[in-house]
Amino acid sequence: MTPADLPGTLSNYVRGEMDDWLSRYPVDQKQSAVLGALRALQHEDGYLKTEKMDAVATYLDMPPIAVYEVASFYSMFELEPVGKHTLAVCTNLSCMLCGADKIVEHLEHKLGIGLGESTPDGKFFLKKEEECLAACCGAPMMQVNHDYEENLTIEKVDRILEGLD
């Protein structure tokens, strides 16, 4: 497969992201752009499709398995389809002390799913064991898609969920 075959598989957005990252690294170290590429893929599809990872591998001149290795190493990447909105509650030390467990419990109860599961309507995904996201001063906190929501209370969580379509 040559880069010319890619447009069918990868969107202009993903290719643009990859080219942007590629421009920041030496030409013989194309694999440096793999994290940026995978982030763009996940942003677009919600998870990493194998065919698209293969296309990324071709574009970056890597063996496909090397891309799978990166994808499976980082817990932030999803390898299976998940709900549209990702809710990742930090359960690390500071957040835990400030009541993260109650937030998780509330979310599980309200959405009727456990950690690591998606709601049957495909709207919400509750990420499992999210570790410290470096926002301890706003504990307890959670990441909603790309945004940080801090100083959470049960009411605030409900408001946030209502605001998501």
């Binding site: 194998t50 063996p63 496909p64 398995i65 290795e69 499976s72 817990s75």
Partner: protein, 793 residues
């Protein structure tokens, strides 16, 4: 340049080592044992298993010996309390997740982990928690997996990326969830994939065909040679009760290093098949009858004398041993028969006078690594000669540029590779363009047909690139492969390539294909040369000429015409029309029963002592590993007895050693690299440049009768169903679509095949994919064809 030597002390013993060497290498050189799992001398250093911890004076903690370079005056202790403590702790950690299933593990008894645990582990495990379990991966027909046993040394991963040139295995997941695998389920496609079984220090990767067949301590290890390619790979056959259970590499740094190709490793399955010939068979008026050796050789001796010598054709396999080949040609020459040949896949014999003593690499196998440029012509080297390709891959990792003139893209898995794809009828033109770049006055010696073609050529960009690459490379090589051998204009192509090599000071390599092709040339298994390359004043016919008509009787030695011959259908027809056919064969096939009159069961390479000459002219002899089945016997013995039946003199050999000595007297142990192809005066330039040509290669696992019967190899992704491939433009012109069935007509024979599109194929040529188990009903591998659309109702 001599490397700087330094002095250090290991266990208070003074040792000298090259600066920059790793401690573990130095310790190995001095037989000081340091336990290890991830370190392998042929692979990069990973330092991830932490087993090779040693104490180094002044270092605060134990250091991994595989990743610690030696230094002047260093004092190292491999067995001090601190070192042993570190090793023991590592061992305990490694065993946390490793199952204690040694009694049911194939690796048990020859396991690096088991041995090291015996030496460095505790008697009782302190670990009582749950062990992790990892799902097994399906990696195809050759490698079985028990991934729970994996200790993540990553040797198999590094083997893929560093040696095989294709990284198929990887470590996915992280921490406790890290797993070695392919992520998406697929078979390994590397032709060297079996080596991951050897590098795996535990029982995670095992040989699937021999899984659960035998325990390591029950088997006998017999040194042998692989006859399937021109490397002469050194192997060990592991034998249980007269059965070869598995094959592993026998280390030889000058040849196969610590590796072997899958073909060498798994071909043994073809040794033990139900169609082995176990007793002599003779065709009588009542049909096939089992016979005694005496009676069958009598029939043969009586019948063969009924034909005049010109009416008999003798054809033998190039993977037979030197002793067999030599006695065969000697015996039939004593009867006056000169139609003797082994070149069954060749199409053009015009330049045979000018060939070197035997086709060869033009250099040693080791020195392949030092090439800066390699030009391959008509050669899919990775599938033809996997281990030679491995050497070139090492060169390419150092920066060697590889250019290939073929008809389609072959992925050699080299770091740098340029494919120049031309239809086979255009190869002559392509080479002429390159030769045209040589200054004019240097081309006086060219035969005049070629001179004219060269003079009219105007070098394309590719041609100039290749010429400049070779001219400026310093050490470089031009290699002609199997597809060139089967080309109808091979003589002209060889002459041009030889001229090119001569003027660019490139090593000129005519790759011999089988394990003893070189030997067959040396010992006179040819119509035009006697043993030692002496010209035969009374030259006989080559294979094609023999099949074309005059022969009424054939002697087939270790061959199956429908698979081994360039032109399978005409070979088969010739056999069926012949009055008398004798086959010396390890296997009896249905088709043999249809054309043969006498079937003589012979031993395979594993069942007799035999000598093989490889691509660099190296003579190697290996003993037998097992006994031949039933009444099958080593062919040199059969030939010797046959000579008695024929009343011939000079066949008093009592051992194969005596045969070998006689051969050596006639040939000398020579490395006759020099040929005179560059001054070849007779070349074949006739071809129809307008029409469509077909190109095919013999599949990797179809090269000889043993490999074709190796079941597991036949299930790999390399075995494909027959089909025809062409580029889109040609398909459009012919009005056919992908997946359509099209009719191919070649030489009056027709076959319907499914169409596949391959954008890398040039116009006016189609690729006909051959299968190992189906006869190519069309004929020669490179020949003009006509493509017809099938009209559907």
């Amino acid at each position: 340049m001599p490397e700087e030597q330094i002095q250090l002390f290991i266990n208070d013993r003074e040792v000298h080592a090259s600066k920059g060497a790793m401690l573990i290498e130095v310790a190995d050189q001095h037989d000081i044992r340091i336990p290890r799992f991830c370190y392998h001398k042929k692979l990069s250093v990973a330092a991830n298993c932490r087993m090779c911890m040693v104490e180094v004076e002044k270092a605060p903690k134990a250091l991994p010996a595989c990743a610690t370079p030696v230094a002047e005056g260093m004092r190292v202790y491999t067995h001090s309390p601190a070192a042993l403590d570190a090793q023991k702790s590592t061992m305990e950690f490694l065993l946390i997740n490793h199952p204690l299933d040694c009694p049911v593990c194939d690796q048990g008894g020859e396991c690096e982990l088991q041995d090291t645990a015996m030496g460095y582990g505790e008697d009782v495990s302190r670990y009582t928690e749950r062990k992790r379990v990892v799902a097994d991966k399906e990696l195809g027909p050759l490698v079985s997996t028990d991934m729970t046993r994996c200790i993540h040394c990553t040797r198999c991963v590094r083997f893929g990326s560093e040696v095989a040139g294709i990284r198929e295995l990887g470590a996915t997941g992280r921490g406790e969830f890290m797993e070695i695998g392919t992520y998406v389920q697929r078979s390994l496609t590397s032709e060297l994939s079996g080596n991951v079984i050897d590098v795996c220090p535990v029982g995670a990767l095992n040989a699937k065909p021999s899984r659960m067949r035998a325990r390591s301590w029950e088997m006998l290890q017999c040194a042998g040679l692989s006859p399937h390619d021109a490397m002469g790979s050194n192997i060990y056959m592991h034998v249980l009760r007269n059965t070869v259970v598995r094959v592993v590499p026998r280390e030889n740094d000058e040849l196969n290093e610590t590796w072997i190709a899958d073909r060498d490793r798994f071909s043994y399955e073809g040794l033990h098949t139900p169609d082995r010939a176990t007793q002599p068979l003779v065709r009588t008026a009542r049909g096939w009858e089992s016979s005694s050796w005496q009676a069958s050789l009598d029939v043969l001796a009586r019948k063969i004398k009924q034909f005049s010598p010109e009416e008999v054709g003798v054809m033998a396999a190039a993977h037979s041993s030197l002793e067999e080949q030599y006695l065969l040609q000697k015996l039939f020459r004593c009867l006056g028969i000169q139609n003797i040949d082994h070149r069954v896949r060749q199409a053009d014999f015009t330049d045979q006078e000018y060939m070197p003593l035997f086709p060869n690499l033009g250099q040693s196998i080791e020195s392949l690594e030092h090439n800066n440029a390699v030009f391959l012509i008509g050669c899919d080297i990775r599938l033809e000669q996997p281990m030679l390709a491995h050497r070139i891959r090492k060169a390419s990792a150092r920066g060697c540029q590889v250019v290939a003139l073929n008809s389609r893209d072959f992925d050699f898995l080299f770091a740098a590779q340029v494919n120049w794809n031309q239809a086979p009828q255009a190869w002559l033109q392509a080479l002429s363009e390159i030769v045209k770049c040589i200054p004019d006055n240097e081309l006086r010696d060219l035969p005049h047909e070629l001179k004219e073609i060269v003079e009219q050529a105007s070098p394309s960009m590719y041609a100039r690139h290749i010429f400049e690459l070779l001219s400026q490379a310093g050490t470089c090589s031009v290699f002609l492969g199997a597809m060139l051998d089967s080309h109808p204009q091979a003589s002209a192509l060889r002459a041009l390539a030889a001229v090119l090599a001569r003027h660019t000071h490139a090593n000129f390599g005519l790759l011999p294909q089988a394990g003893n092709t070189a030997g067959a040339w040396l010992c006179g298994l040819l119509p035009h040369r006697l043993a030692g390359g002496v010209p035969n004043p009374d030259a006989g016919l080559d294979t094609t000429a023999m099949l074309a008509g005059p022969c009424k009787a054939f002697v087939l030695f270790n061959l199956e015409p429908e698979f081994d011959f360039a032109n399978a259908p005409s070979a088969l027809e010739a056999m069926q029309e012949a009055d008398f056919v004798v086959v010396f064969t390890p296997y009896v096939s249905e088709s043999m029963r249809s054309y043969a009159d006498v079937v003589l069961p012979i031993a395979t390479f594993a069942e007799m002592r035999g000598t093989y000459v490889n691509a660099e002219g190296r003579w190697q002899t290996a003993d037998k590993a097992i006994n031949p089945p039933g009444q099958a016997r080593p062919a040199w013995r059969i030939l010797r007895v046959l000579a008695d039946h024929l009343g011939l003199e000079g066949f008093t050999h009592e051992s194969s050693q005596q045969v070998l000595e006689e051969i050596k007297v006639q040939t000398g142990e020579t490395t006759g690299f020099e040929g005179r192809l560059h001054e070849s005066k007779m070349v074949q330039t006739q071809a129809d440049p307008e029409g469509i040509y077909r190109v095919s290669a013999t599949p990797m696992y179809a090269v000889d009768n043993v490999v074709r019967r190796a079941n597991s190899l036949q299930q790999t992704p390399y075995e494909r169903s027959p089909r025809v491939a062409m580029c889109e433009q040609l398909a459009r012109e012919l009005g056919v679509l992908e997946e359509d069935e099209v009719r191919i007509v070649q030489d009056g024979r027709a076959k319907v095949l499914k169409l596949e599109l391959d954008p890398a194929l040039p116009m006016n040529c189609v690729w006909v994919q051959k299968s190992s188990r189906q006869v190519d009903e069309l004929g020669n591998a490179i020949a003009p064809v006509e493509i017809q659309r099938l009209d559907h109702d």
